[in-house]
Symmetry: C2
Subunit: 504 residues, 2 copies
């Protein structure tokens, strides 16, 4: 191997990575199908099929041959920068993956499977206690995983780093400590101001018209339906099989218009990112998103900074009225704008407004940290949860389903995921502030329903780089600074000052 | 290994086969998706993804370890009959598959790919000559394949055997020579009798109502929609991912009601078979269909013996009239029955009636044999084709698209497939004649729309056996005799005597 020309070795690496990608994306299609079109009785074998493909992808990726190839390629001086970066990132992934023995991977998969089913059972019975023992076992394995991966300061860092390279407890403690107080103060002020009305969103909106409106919006935002499609699923998600096949889903509740509209825009934000990744890099790191955090920054930017802006409403509310003349004839554009931005403490994270959302995340973050530190056990979760919802949001959680049983993540073994939701929102504000400076016409363009300039800017600033940068590195490249939560606080302050007539 | 208990070894065999099935069915899902929901631009990478999974399945199946395990299991005396049969059939498959070097498999895949694209090009240009050179190369490889597989009398036997174990040139020459003359005589008589009217099928039938009617029919026939689903595709097909997930597709032409109705029933016939396979045998031969021929016997039995019977019309024509009162108000049940059974020479095999259909197959069969014998070359195909359509059916083929370019099979390398269509029809008649004797109430049940007794009978006689028997063995088990084409001839004679007032 050591005498082969670099181009030949690199080509072998590319072919290997593409074959592994083929397996991974086949597994992704099994999952997409499971959430959209899988017949009821087909579900039992599907889990096994997905497990087999995941195992094969893992085995192919941790093959010694690939390790040797990567090692050799790293010693070569004649790789161009992009190729060098691909090799470097793959080597990092490889070094991380080979740390896990097949036995450990199998044990984790099995425990996750068990945990997922006891979570379903616990939800059905609305009783966290049925979930707590299996979750405790899973957390023990996640600790083992963190130990295997290694960390400098805190066990949790290893898991955070896995979702967003460079993320750690020190950074997140700092970020959350900086937003906690100002957000709480803003919330208190809002709660003592006259509330906006959003009851019109709960009128009856027929399914087919909601679907048609959603499709019109996602097309207008630039989502390429020749390189993707939208379907219905229980929980909206984005999934991709290459940059030419990026699919999204939505759900439709005939008595909740908002659910459909902003989930469509949110998933479109994710999908625009995936559709904008370099297409020649199929299977390679530079063809992948930078991190979960950056992914979320894209969905949040479109959902909130565009989709909930006054400019957007000016273009789209009249269209919406044409779809639903009876339901919306008595609603003014201003009422609509204020209604869709109503701030109000609530129980379910995914339904929360832009402000209270982060208290949901903070509770999860604190719990994950405490659980990994052994400072609390899984049995303590409901009490901790309910106490902090009272403290932060002033609400009394009525039961576990509306409380600590609401999200699937932990049952999947996803620890370290929740913080990316908040970080994504904060980066969204920072990137959007940068875009506004770079594109002085942006607001008036959006008023006219023209988001092309913004999309082009994002394609150029964010999408085309793939995994070239970490979240922090990308932030520096895009905005000239690392994460600065002031952009997010300013954005909220400005928005809610207008809506709730707050004094700063 | 030789000291391990048999049960342990058998279990290892089962687990290995299941993992291979997981890969195969993942590949099948990639194909299903390609035909139904794949976005336009996603197509280019999909071919590569399918190729990777196929290669992995092949590699896993031809692994030495599996070979050794099978060898050891075959020497064990303490296997129960079903397990023994599984091992025996897998060993046969294994011995066949390991004959092919990875290089040969890759060459075949690449040639098929090229051939498929030149077939598409040739169709676009309506010119067989553009397809002929690539097809010639593919045929050379198929000859090599036949040589590798081995045969006793004729090269073609190896390929026929691959689609239907035990099938060969001697058998097919005999069968076709027995049907050719009586079918031609029957056709001549029909063509000189007053023709039935089926023009009502070409009226305008809106898409959504056609869809709803089709769904009502397939449900009524016993297709379990909790273990399957129907979608739209360009060419109707059945595909399965296990016996609890068997999917069918149909197509809808608003000016061709018949196309949708009988393709639904045909695919339902295939699907009922797959849904009736032993469910515990996922990934094992006894969980698979007996042969392509038997598969086709099931689809034809439902499509023709049920779907085109007078009894079926009595139940379903009034329902159809309720769906399409304007289109069918002036049509009597008798006109309907006679119209849907109209016999008439035509160009396209898939649209042919039950009688002329087999002349289409005979032309393909003769051509495949002659090509493999080097008696003709691919350049000679159009002339041979057109000459025989004139001879058999008395029609002048206007161009290659309506002639020898109509089917995709050859471009996929499927030689030896077409005869299973005719054999399937002949077995369908034989099985149905047996069912009529076993179920004296069958006709009156069908008149009432009750096909449960028939389905139960087929489940018990055919479906539950999986691959236990060859086509011939199954025929013996079901009907007490090997293939007897007299059943088919009697069935047609009886049917058309009624419709066309033929004298025998």
């Amino acid at each position: 191997m050591t005498t082969s020309p670099t181009s030949e070795l690199y080509n072998e690496y590319v072919q290997t990575m593409r074959r592994i990608a083929d397996i991974r994306y086949a597994s992704a299609l099994l999952q997409w199908d499971q959430e959209t079109y899988l017949p009821l009785k087909g579900a039992s074998i599907r889990g096994q099929q997905i497990a087999t493909l995941s195992e094969m992808a893992h085995r192919s990726f941790t093959d010694d041959k690939l390790g040797a190839l990567l090692h050799e390629l790293q010693s070569r001086q004649d790789l161009d920068p992009a190729s060098r970066r691909n090799v470097e990132l793959t080597s990092e992934d490889y070094d991380r993956q080979i740390k896990f023995s097949p036995a450990f991977v199998r044990q984790l998969t099995e425990t996750v499977n068990k945990c997922f089913h006891s979570w379903l059972e616990a939800r059905k019975g609305n009783d966290f206690n049925r979930f707590a023992p299996d979750l405790a076992k899973l957390i023990e394995l996640k600790k083992e995983e963190a130990t295997i991966l290694g960390y400098q300061h805190h066990l949790y860092d290893a898991l955070l780093n896995d979702h967003d390279k460079g993320s750690n407890v020190r950074l997140l403690d700092d970020v959350f400590s900086k937003v906690r107080k100002p957000l709480k103060e803003m919330l208190d002020k809002i709660m003592s101001a006259p509330q906006t009305d959003n009851s019109f969103l709960r009128r009856h909106y027929p399914k087919d018209k909601q679907w048609a409106f959603g499709m019109e919006v996602i097309k207008a935002l630039g989502y390429d339906l020749d390189a993707g499609r939208q379907d219905i699923s229980e929980h909206p998600f984005t999934i991709n099989f290459n940059s030419h096949d990026v699919r999204i889903t939505t759900r439709i509740d005939e008595h909740d218009l908002g659910n459909m509209v902003w989930s469509c825009i949110h998933e479109t934000g994710h999908a625009l990112y995936e559709q904008g990744l370099p297409e020649g890099a199929y299977g390679l790191p530079l063809g992948e998103p930078a991190s979960y955090t950056i992914h979320e920054s894209q969905s949040r930017l479109w959902e909130n900074h565009i989709g909930r802006s006054r400019a957007f409403c000016e273009q789209w509310f009249p269209v919406l009225q044409r779809y639903f003349p009876e339901q919306l004839h008595d609603i003014s554009p201003d009422t609509f704008y204020r209604g869709i931005n109503r701030v109000e403490p609530s129980f379910i994270r995914t339904e929360a407004d832009e402000l209270t959302y982060h208290f949901h995340v903070m509770v999860r973050y604190d719990l994950e940290k405490l659980l990994l530190e052994n400072a609390i056990t899984t049995k303590d979760i409901p009490a901790y949860w309910n106490e902090h919802y009272r403290q932060y949001l002033g609400i009394q959680v009525p039961d576990d389903k509306k409380g600590c049983l609401q999200d699937v993540h932990w049952s999947h073994g996803s620890f370290g995921y929740f913080p990316t939701y908040s970080l994504g929102s904060f980066y969204a504000a920072q990137f959007y502030a940068t875009a506004q400076k770079a594109l002085p016409e942006l607001d008036s363009q959006i008023q006219k329903g023209d988001t092309k300039a913004l999309l082009d800017w994002l394609r150029n600033q964010v999408h085309r780089h793939g995994r070239m940068y970490t979240s922090e590195g990308l932030s520096l490249a895009v905005s000239g600074e690392t994460l600065n939560i002031q952009h997010f606080l300013d954005y909220l302050q400005q928005k809610y000052s207008g809506i709730y007539q707050l004094r700063s």
